[in-house]
Every structure is written in structure tokens, then in C-alpha cells.
Symmetry: D2
Subunit: 453 residues, 4 copies
Amino acid sequence: MTTFLNDMFQTISERGRALLERRGLQVDRGGADLVKLCESLVSTPGEASGVAIASEVLRRYDALPPDRQVDFLRSLAEQFGADDDRLVRAIHDYMEDPNGRTAGQVHFAAEPRRQELIRRLNLAPAGTASLVSMRVQILDNLREYPELALLDEDFRHLFASWFNRGFLVLRRIDWATPASILAKIIKYEAVHQIADWEDLRRRLEPADRRCFAFFHPALVDEPLIFVEVALTPDIPASIAEVLATEREIMDPMEAKTAAFYSISNCQKGLRGISFGNFLIKQVVEDLVREAPQLETFVTLSPAPGFRDWLDRERRAEGPSAATDADRATLAALDADDWHRDAEKVQAIKRVIMPLAAHYFFRAKDDRGRPIDPVARFHLGNGARLERINWLGDVSAKGLTQARGLMVNYRYVLKDVERNHEAFANSGEIAASSHIRRQLRSNAQPQTPIPTDE
Amino acid sequence: MTTFLNDMFQTISERGRALLERRGLQVDRGGADLVKLCESLVSTPGEASGVAIASEVLRRYDALPPDRQVDFLRSLAEQFGADDDRLVRAIHDYMEDPNGRTAGQVHFAAEPRRQELIRRLNLAPAGTASLVSMRVQILDNLREYPELALLDEDFRHLFASWFNRGFLVLRRIDWATPASILAKIIKYEAVHQIADWEDLRRRLEPADRRCFAFFHPALVDEPLIFVEVALTPDIPASIAEVLATEREIMDPMEAKTAAFYSISNCQKGLRGISFGNFLIKQVVEDLVREAPQLETFVTLSPAPGFRDWLDRERRAEGPSAATDADRATLAALDADDWHRDAEKVQAIKRVIMPLAAHYFFRAKDDRGRPIDPVARFHLGNGARLERINWLGDVSAKGLTQARGLMVNYRYVLKDVERNHEAFANSGEIAASSHIRRQLRSNAQPQTPIPTDE
Amino acid sequence: MTTFLNDMFQTISERGRALLERRGLQVDRGGADLVKLCESLVSTPGEASGVAIASEVLRRYDALPPDRQVDFLRSLAEQFGADDDRLVRAIHDYMEDPNGRTAGQVHFAAEPRRQELIRRLNLAPAGTASLVSMRVQILDNLREYPELALLDEDFRHLFASWFNRGFLVLRRIDWATPASILAKIIKYEAVHQIADWEDLRRRLEPADRRCFAFFHPALVDEPLIFVEVALTPDIPASIAEVLATEREIMDPMEAKTAAFYSISNCQKGLRGISFGNFLIKQVVEDLVREAPQLETFVTLSPAPGFRDWLDRERRAEGPSAATDADRATLAALDADDWHRDAEKVQAIKRVIMPLAAHYFFRAKDDRGRPIDPVARFHLGNGARLERINWLGDVSAKGLTQARGLMVNYRYVLKDVERNHEAFANSGEIAASSHIRRQLRSNAQPQTPIPTDE
Amino acid sequence: MTTFLNDMFQTISERGRALLERRGLQVDRGGADLVKLCESLVSTPGEASGVAIASEVLRRYDALPPDRQVDFLRSLAEQFGADDDRLVRAIHDYMEDPNGRTAGQVHFAAEPRRQELIRRLNLAPAGTASLVSMRVQILDNLREYPELALLDEDFRHLFASWFNRGFLVLRRIDWATPASILAKIIKYEAVHQIADWEDLRRRLEPADRRCFAFFHPALVDEPLIFVEVALTPDIPASIAEVLATEREIMDPMEAKTAAFYSISNCQKGLRGISFGNFLIKQVVEDLVREAPQLETFVTLSPAPGFRDWLDRERRAEGPSAATDADRATLAALDADDWHRDAEKVQAIKRVIMPLAAHYFFRAKDDRGRPIDPVARFHLGNGARLERINWLGDVSAKGLTQARGLMVNYRYVLKDVERNHEAFANSGEIAASSHIRRQLRSNAQPQTPIPTDE
């Protein structure tokens, strides 16, 4: 068999080479030539050779060293824009007679040829995966080469269309999932690192644990985003109780609460395409179907911006949420192992909890949004701020980035839509009555803090 | 369980209703209201309620009577174009400083809001299938309401992106395929009708028969296009020998030829998105892998335009491919059952075969292409005209549309690319030497014939 | 690839041949030689060549004409019994010292070598299927060649062990089931014939229809037994209402009753291995899980022995369940189309219903069991006789074998066990109070009627 | 849902209890009562309550402490033998008229009721798995309670029938296999321990590694036996080169050799049911199909009995394979780390290799078989002794049990059958010419050594 197939593939390869030679593309296998190949790909009238050329482009691109790859991507950004002559003509027609048809012609004339190029590169086997990693390269070099922003916009536009929620598939991840996928779960977990396979097993195998991921049919066995869930009697207050090595496993049909304790995006190349919102809602639906007695859907989330904000408050000389007395108490935080000193911990707690409420309610970025990115995500999805947990995460990471704070955001189905709208339209933050009381009445409005998102 | 889920769905439904009421949309469930709902869908900042609204739009649309559906579609075409103010501003910026960025802004400003609407409708469960059938409605009314052309263009643009070959899945169809899919194969077969399940079984179960279809992950169990293949010792000359009820089944590992005897598109709503080209090439690859001794890949195709063309030639008063003597002979065709009279059949054959060669080589439409649509398809894919088979199809349909002619187009791997290019660039038609000899040397160039494709 | 594999298989085949030659078995490919080959198969110490020899035996057996196959089977029955010398020695030891060990030796010494032979034939690929059809041949010739009974007993013993309920797999059959399996459902349906694929579709596709089958892993895609179920509001009284071409489909979550209207055994070769009992109970469990509001589990069954019994009653001269007046009324049954005459129908009904009750309660075979085989099956499973339906089946078959009667047997979970025991131990027949009233008090005990089961 | 199902299961459970109460079995939940339950299970005429009782027996058995379990098993061995009266009658009939029918009656009368009990216990869901672990308990106590041997024989007899090769399924194990199965591969690997998941990944994921296992449909996700294979250019001489962390991965289509470097049985409860022979042959077939260029199929095997034998030779005072000079050289083996001293290693090698040849060829157990159990397995399967590898395994285990020796057994397809027969019939050992030369001509025949298999 091999001989024959080798022959055939050789033939295909030779035909490919012959084809390229007829187009004068054979000699230099580097970036410049690659651009010509792309030109050939977008300008071919039919698709006859599309698959072959697309494969060749992706193959050669993969073989380039990173800096040559970036050169190539910059060439695409610059040389595959719209056809200016055609665009100017279309604009002229539109200005003469502005209507749906002429506007449509402007739209299609203004479409950068990059988009058609990307669509045609997708013809190659496993093309989508290659395009997703091509975008990683773009994102990594966006700061240095701002011209790549144009190309990035095209990728993002097409990815948003291709990775439309209608095309995503939700799959449960459990201990019977292929190891090749589980290895990626270990790799991509971004919130509470998975130490090893035994750690993973503890998160997947027990009857009161769930994990779900979105997949796209064109990215085989590559999760896009996943969420880990603990079924619990009550709302958990610390990650340690969730991940404890020794703990009692509960009957899932007796759990009252589903706690989403970790949500990780897996594909950097799909940045800006949001899946999390859909994932949470679909998982809630699936859980209700399986265990209808569940009453509470809640997260156990980090507060990744709290420590930085608190440090600024402690340093602040003008009006601040923190009083001088607060600052004195908080000085204890500078000691090592402060969290092991029960007395200090109590003193700090009294000061820090109202400040934390302040952080979530009052601290805004320069676009008027909460400065905590996790808060922005869940509040934007329509969740409400349910509870702030003092020393919910005493791992090194938890202490460093949030002084140990963890937060529960709660999804109350009947309020999700209203919360979402109030937040989107007027920045209103839904919260439990309990947490509202934590908010100091005398806190000052604050200077906005820029966020880079 | 039911009670709980009913409650939950009721809640969702009530929330949906409450949401719509807040937006003043509840009363009229007809088309006008539907337009408002679409407005709401595209203008929502986030996706929080997107799935719910999209589902509601599709549900209500389905419930409308056909004429109200058309009204609704016309409203979309007219009211969901680009934002003219934004577009004019973008054009202004571009004319001031024409560059990639400003051209990109024109592109996005000129994008009809219909496209975003279609993308968001796709959020609904099974949304893609609904959108595909929505386009059927558009196509069916395009002639009467030309304004729908704008909307059609948007659908076609998005479908071309979504149904990119990179997202298609090739699956073998055989006798172990779910009956629900097979029922669709029976329904969609467009070339040689499948009489019943036993007929289907004869095309799928024998060891020397194959069938393959493309599927898209979002259209579950809905074939997009399929091809039926017979593995044979030689190139078959008639459909009767392929579909014979009693025939000897051959060992697939001894077949020399794979004959593609039927290719059917299944989804009218995907008209204009071409799959056939990719399907044939992929099937050839799969067959070679399975049975590497296969040497010849060939179709057994109808000639759907031949009879009409021949009738024109017979009527023609000016220069024509047919001589007066030809016409006299062909008069025999007007008799019933002419094909059962061996003597007439021989006389007609002598006249008709050169005319058929003429039909395929010389008869062009007003765009300079062969007038036979099947010829356009296979020649455009890079196949060559291999053989014309006299009385290859003596079914009522075959006699009516092609006086019984059938054609073999042959895919010679090493020539496909060259043939395709020669055809695409200069209209050159690749053919076997055998068939070239059939072509009468004295035939006149012909007046082009309009085709409606 | 082919060349290589051909070589390899040739090698295997040649090795096989060489092996047989060394044992002097090559020349005659007929039954006698086959017996030698079987001798070789059971007497080989290890399994090294077992698979090859077993395959060869089955291949040659398949190639024999039927009468030679029977000769071969008779040879097995006669020549592959226990080793008498060994058995006599074991018996001697046992009689000297009767204990578990010596009894065990008797057991193994008395085991006919046929059993080991059957186990070793099962080594061949698809061996189980071949053995099942071998038993069909045995059963078909049992009457003519009683010596085959010994062999049949060995098959039955091993099949009972291999097809133990613990190894069976229940699978739902629906419209998405592979056509190859559905074709077998059509073929094997034994109660209410499936006319064609559309008829099948009406039994599988609607939301209120179910079908389940048992499969065994070694008989791929071969159902062993299947049951068709209709979800209905009430207990159905006629098969026509269940199978109506036009009928309203109900929401399965609103059905109160699951009616088992057809149960068919598929494998004649597994006769005597009972699956039906397990199938019904497992299906009830599955249905309850899916639609917990279901309250009533009931069959709609034929009464295949009723007409014969009734005819005997009508002819009977001595004591009988039927009076002379009854007989006079029943004479109307001899007219064609009697069931279309409303007046006659009423008259007959008044007479026939009490007789039917008598038939089910009083008419016994010579082993004291109900003479109706369907009644024996369901009552033996613990169901109760729920209702007798006059003109429940007016098809030709229904009129012929039961004068149109159909019966509902009802499975009341909490009573199944008790009913079963009462029936098994004392022949007591559980029945609804309604049906008890139909039983004429003055009916005479009856002469037992032999049944051939 | 839950409420309803709970009710239903409660009902089942209550019915179960009621049923047991009627039989006076409810009070004591210990072993004695269990025996009564078993009595009830085998003596019930029908299967109506079989599933329920079988489940209850297995549930209660699992809940017993180990010593009570053993008591229960001993009771089965003693109280569920054949019915002596029936057996004596059958024997009488047979002695009167010895024929197939009467011998058959003896066979069935002599069958211990244990067998029927085991078959009925298998009715319970997951019953097969429970029975397999029940046998582990038996095997573990066989030495202490010899009466369990009777029960063990019944289990073994039924398992041999149920786990017939015809019912086994070969599945490839790779990195896409469910983690739950892979965890078992790690656990069951008995030859070269798998350190962790990364070690496992190195054995499964590279293109030149394979792993296959047999499964039985009734033991879901439980491998019965598995083999690990390395595709290599040549016959490997050491396990270190096969398992090296850093090594070059080869194209499987260029490998010439498939080396079986580890074969592990997984189910202690299936001891005595041989799968390895079938596994190797099936894997060879599968590999040839996939990579037809493979020429050599060979093992890399341990020699677990060599060190003990060598120690005996070194101590021996009478005639021995080792000379005094040999013994003097071998004294170096008593030093720690002898294998790191190049000079000693060479000297030892010269002495030990002929002794090793002697070990494999001449050293026999008291049944005349090679004393090395691995040699017995592969030679019995028809392999030949290909090569003895000095210091093929320098792990602690390898040095301890075989002084570092490893062995290649080679499966030459065309010789397998002949080798097997020669070995089985006359103890002849097939070997490469190379290895024959290693055999010292002057070695003495040896005293047989008992083996415990």
C-alpha cells in the first residue's frame, strides 16, 4: 500500500510543484515567495487547486523561523487590503445613489482581500487549527508591529463568525475522557493549577464533581474553554475545601448547590471571542436536567486585581477608601506568614472586608467598569455579587494577588436578564443584601483606574 | 422531573415574555413585531439574551403563513442595511486618507446589519438549519421580489464562510447508515430516482458499490451533497448496466474503474455554495486508499441540455451543425418508441453522434461556456470529456432530455489542474482523442445560447 | 497492500493445508473428512491451531449441501459422546466413595465431547453466528433424526450459558438505527407483519412509539428479541387503533400507558433460551426512567389458540363450555364477512366472551397449563389477565386464529412476583376483577388438550 | 424524577424484602442466610425473581467481612454439589444401557448445583465482575481450605466457556483511550512497572509504539490482558533502549521488527483461562495489516527463574552444568554492583551465556517442561528461542531475578504450528542456529526441578 500511496502523494506533490513553477514560484521557499503563493490563492477563479495551494502555504509558513513568520504576516497586513480603485468606484456609485445595493457594493469592495485569503487557507486539512495558531503569532507581535492590527481584526471577524455559539459542542469531561484531551485540561487550567493526574482525577471522578468544555468540530480534541464544577450542600467559601484530598463525597442527587470553581480559556488564538457566558448558561441547563433538586448556581472566583488596588489605597495620600487607622492595621500584611496569626487575621478582616466591598462596588476603570476583570465578566453575564470570602484562597497565588480573598457570584436564573441589562446600560451592580451591608456608607468616590482590556 | 423542567422552561419563557414586554413587543405576534424583535437582537450590547431572542424570532417566523414570511424577509432586506450616517463618515475619512485602516472602517460601516442579524439568529439551537430553510423561501421569491436579492447576497456570503470546505465532514453512506439519513438520500436523489428501499439497498449494500456524502456539524444528519459510485471492470456506457437488479457483484479489489454515476445536491438553501468539486476529489483519494489498484475515475453523466439544443438545430433555418440530410434522418425521433427500432437507431446514431460532439465542444452560452450544465461542472473541475454513449439512458427521462445520450467525464489526476486552468482561462475543453475524432470538421461556429445560471 | 496481504493469507491458508495434510485430511472435502477435522480440533492439547481449524470446519460445513450437513451433524451426535471407559472408571470411583470430588469427576467424564467441540468451534471469527445457524439445521431435522436430540441438548446447554441475561445488551431501536438492523426487524416481526419501510417508520419515528431489542456482543447487529411499544392515554383495545396510518401523535410525557403490542423472537437457533421475560422487565424500567408518569404497563396480545379451541367446543358432543344455544349462535361464524354484520357481531359477542374467559381460565393442556401459549408466557412472567377485547384484530390473520380476539396482559410491578409464584406453584391465574365476572359460573372442567411445547 | 425513582426502587427493594420474608430469610444478614438465599435462587422454577435475588446475594456478599465471605464460599463448595440420589439413579440407568442419552443424563445429574448457581448469579447487573472477584477470594484461600478446589473448578469451567476467545474483543490502547482504562494499564503492568502518566505516555503516544488489550463485553472497561509493542529497526537486546526517555522515534512504515516487550494478565480471578496465545497472534495480524513491511515478530522477555536455577547450580555438589572454574568466576556475582565492573562483566558473560543456554534447553521441571515459565508460555505458543541478551535488564528486578538476562522469543508465522506441535508432543525446543551454538556440548542431563504450575 505504502508504495502506491507514496507514488500518489508524490504525484500530487509534483503536480503542486509543477503548478507553482508555471507561476514562477519555485525557487525561494521563504516569506516573499509565500506572499506570491497567497496572491495566487486568492486570485484563482475556481477552487480546483485551492486545497493544494492552501496546504502548501501553511506548510511553508510552519517551517519558517518566527521572525520570518512575522515578516510574512506584516506583508499580508499591508499587501492584501481592499482594491482601492474598485473601492473608489463603489464609493462613487454609492454617493451618486445611496441605497442598499450600492452600499452593499461598497461593503464588498472594501473587504480586505485578507478575509478571502483566510477563508481559502481554511480549505487545507486542519487549516482552522493552523489559522488559530497564526493568530497567536499576530497577538504576540501586535505591540511591536501595530500594522498587524488590521490583520488581527480580519481574523477576529472571521473567527467570531466561525466560532459562533451555534457551531460549538458542549461535552462533559470526566475520567472516561480520552487521556489526550485530559492532558490539555491539565495544561490549560489557568485558575487553580492541576498538580498531576491524581489531582485531575480528584476533580473529575468523584460523583459530586463535573467538568464541561466547549469544542468546535474543526478543532478536533481541542477544548476551547472549560469549567470545573463542585456539587455541594452550601455555597463554598474556600477553594481548599473544594480541592481537599480527603473529603466526603456527596450523593449528587442531594446537592443543593453547583459551584463553578474554575473557568479557563484554552485558545489564546481565539482571544476576544467570548464563550464563557454561553458555557455557564448551558452547563446550568444540563445540571438542572440531571439533578433537578439543585437550587443555587454560584461561582467560587478569584479577585485578581484586589491586591494591586489595595496597595494603591494603602499608599494613597488624598481621599481614599482606607482611613489612616485602616492603613495601620493593614501594615500587618507586610509580615511574612501574616495569615497564620489568628489575632492579626481577625484585625485585618475587620478592616479589609468593607474595603473589599468598596473594591467591587466603587472602584472603576477609566471606562466606568469595575476594575476587577472577573467581576466584569460575571456581572456582565447577569450574575450578582453574592459573598466575599475572607481567606478563601491561602495558596501563594491567592495571597499574592488578592490577599486571600475569594468571591461568589451567583446566577439566579430569573434575574440574569435584568441584571445584565442594568449592568450593561447603567453600570448597576447586582448584589446580595448581605454584601450591601458590608459596604461602608462613608466611602468616597474614587479616581478611575485604567484597565488594559 | 417533568414538573421541574416544565417550571424552568416556563420561567425561561416567562422571562422571555417579560423581557419582550419591557420592550413593548408582546402584543402582535406577526411579522411587524418580528422585525422589532430582530432590531432588539442586533442592537443588544451583550449576548446575554441573544440565544433566547434568536430562538423566539425563529419560532415565530416558522409559525407565520408563507406570505407573511415573505413580508418579513422583505422588511429585513429593506430595514437592516448599513447605517448610512456611519458609512458616510467612514467614506469621508477614507477619502481624506485612503489606507488600510480607513478602508477597513468603510468595510465594517458598509456591512449591512442583516449580516450581524443572521449571525445572531444562528445562536439559537438548530439555528443553522432554520437559516438554511429561510434562504429557500428567499430563493423561491427572488423573481417576484427583486429586493430580496440584497438579503440573499448576505446569506450566501455567510453560508460560503460557514460551509467552507474546512468545516465539512465526508462520511460513507452504506447499508449500516441510520435509516433517518437514508430516507433523505432517497428523497434528495436528483439524477436517477431511487424507487424504494430495495432499490436503495442495491446501490449501497453490494461490495462493489459506494456512496459518500458531505455533512456539516451544525446540520445534524442532513447530507449536503452525495455521490453514488460503482466499482467496475471498465468504463460503463449505460445506466441500465449499473442499476441492473440482477447483476454479478465484483470483488472491489479487482475493479479497475470507479464510476460516479449520480451526484445530487441536497440543500436548496445552499445554492451557489459549491461542494461537488471537493467531494469528487476527496472521494477519489479515499477510494485509492481503500483499493489502490483502481486506475480510472470517471463519471456516467446525463446531458440535460442536449434535446433542447438538438430541437433548435432541427428547426434552425440559418447555418447549423445539422445538414438537411441530418434533419431528415432525425425526423425519425418524432415517432414513439423510435429507440426500439434497431434500424432507425443505427441511422440516427450515425447522424447524432457527431452532433453530440458538436454540442459539447462548440455550443456555447452567452458567456462563452458550454451550454450543458453538467459539462460546465465537470470540465470546470478539470475532468476531460471521455466518451459519449449512444442510448446510455433509455428511461423516459433520459430519452426526453437527452435523446438517450450519456457522457463519461474522466478525472485524470495528473491533468486535472492543467485542464481546469485551460478551461477557466481560455475555455479550452479537454477530451479523449477518441471523442475528438467524432467532432465533424466542417461544423460551423454557433450563435451563443443564454443560460440562466 | 493487497499483494502482501494476499501473500500472508495464502501463507496462512497453505499452512492450514499443510497442517491438514500432515494429519491426512486433505483429499475429501466432504462430511467424513469434516468429522476427522473435528476430532483433531477437540484432541489438540493447546489452542495454537484452534482458530484455524475451527474456521476451516465452519467454512467447509457451510459449503456442504443440506443433506450432507445433516449427515455431519448426526455423526457428531453419535461419535462425540463421552469416553465410556473414562466414565465407567469415574463412576466406579464415585460408587466407592461418593463425595463432591468424585461426583465432579463423573460430571466431567460424562460431558460429551460435543460440548468441548462446540466451545472450540466458537474460536473461529463469527463462530457464534455459525453455531446458531447450525442449530437451526438441527432443529429442522430433529423430528426425522431423533438422534440429533443429544446434540441439540449440548447446544442448548451452552447457549443458555453464553446467552445468559448478564451478557445481553438492551438497545433502543428507532428511526436513527442502521438500516441493516431495521431490515432485520422487518424480517423478524412475527406478530403484526411490517408491510414496508413506511410501515416500519410509523412504528419507530413518532414520539409516542418505542422499540427495544436485546443484542449479544458476539452476534453483531443481530437482534435476539424485540418488543414494540405504544405510549397511549388508555389501555388499547384493538391493534388497528395502534397501527392506524393516520392518527394523532401524543406527547410521551402525557401518556399514562405503555402498551407492548408485539414481541418477536428473532433467532430460531436460540429456541428454548428465554429472553422475553427479562426484556419486558428491563423495558418497563427504562420507560419509567424516561417517562415517570407512566402508570400502566400492559400488552396487546393475540390469542393464537382460541379459534382451534372454539372449533373443538363447537364440535364437542360431550360436556363442553358451550351450550347448544351457544353453538347455534356461533354458526354465524361460518359465513364470510360475518364480522361486518353489526347484528351478528353483537349476538356472537354475547356468547363468545364468556367462552373466551373460559378458554383462558379453564382450558388446560396435558401438563395442566393454559393452552394459549401467549397466556402461558405472560402469566408465567407474573402478569395478570386484564381484559379480553372483542374484535381487537380483524385482519385476516386475527380472524383466522382467534376470531378477532385480542388480550391485554398487565404487569403490575408490586404483584409480579406473587403472581409468578402462584402461577408456577399452583397454576393460579391472576386476573382483573372485571374479567373474572366474564367467567361463566356454570362452566364444566375440561379435558386437557396436548400442547407441543 | 428522583422522588418517583426512589419510590420505584424502594418498591423493588420492599418487594425484595417481602419476598425474602415469605421465605423466612430476612433476619440474619450474614453468611448462613446467604446460603439460604442461594438455595432459593437455584431452586426457583422460573427466572421471574432471579435478577432480584442474584443482586441481593452479591450485595450481601460484598458487605461481609473477608472471613465470613470465605465461610460462605466453603458452604457453597460443600452444600451445592450434585443431587446424589438423582446421580445414582442416572448411573444405574447408564450401567443398564450405556449410550449417549444415558451418559448425558449422568452428565447433567452429576453437574454440581454450584454451576447453575454461578450462572444465575450472573443475572445480576455487573454480575460477571462480581463473580470474577469472588474467584479471587477463592484462589487466595485455596491453600488453607482445600475444599474450595471444587468450587474453583466450577468457576474455572464456566469462565473458560464465557471468556471463550470468540467473545473477546481486541482494542488498541493509545493516548486517546479513556483515562479510566489507562489508569488500569498502569496498575496492572506486571513486567516493567509504569512509573507515572508520563512514562505511560511515552509507551503509548509515539508513532512507533503500540499497545493492545483484550476486553470482554461483560467486564466494561476492564482489560483482561495487554501487550506493549515497540516497532524497531532490529531485534532489541535490552529493555533500557526500548523505554529510554530520550530516543529517536521512527516512522512505523520503516520499522522491520515488532518487539513485544511486556505482556500482563490483568484479572487474577481469571487465572488458568489463557488469552496470551490468542492475543499475540491477533496482534501480529493487525500489525501486518497496518505495516506490511514488518518482517520480524519477536518478544523481549524476562527470565524469571534463571537466578534461582543458577544459585542451585553454584551450590550443587554432584553433576552440574557448571564446572568448578565456572563457579569460581561466578563468585563475582556476590559483590554489590558487579554489573558496573566491565572486566568482571566480560568474565561472567563467558561463563554465564552457555549456562543460560543450558537453562533454557536442558533444565526441566518434574513434568519434563522447561523450568522457565516465560519460556514455557512462548515455546508452547510455537515461538522459537531466538537470542539470549546479556545484561538486557540491569534494573534491580532484572538483576535479582535473572542476573540481568533477557530473552527474545521469535514468532515465525510459517513455523509456529510445527514448533507448537513438536513442543507439545515431544518437548522439542525450537531455537535459532545462533543460540544452539551457545549450548555447551558437554553439559550433563539434569535432575528435574518441581514447578508449582
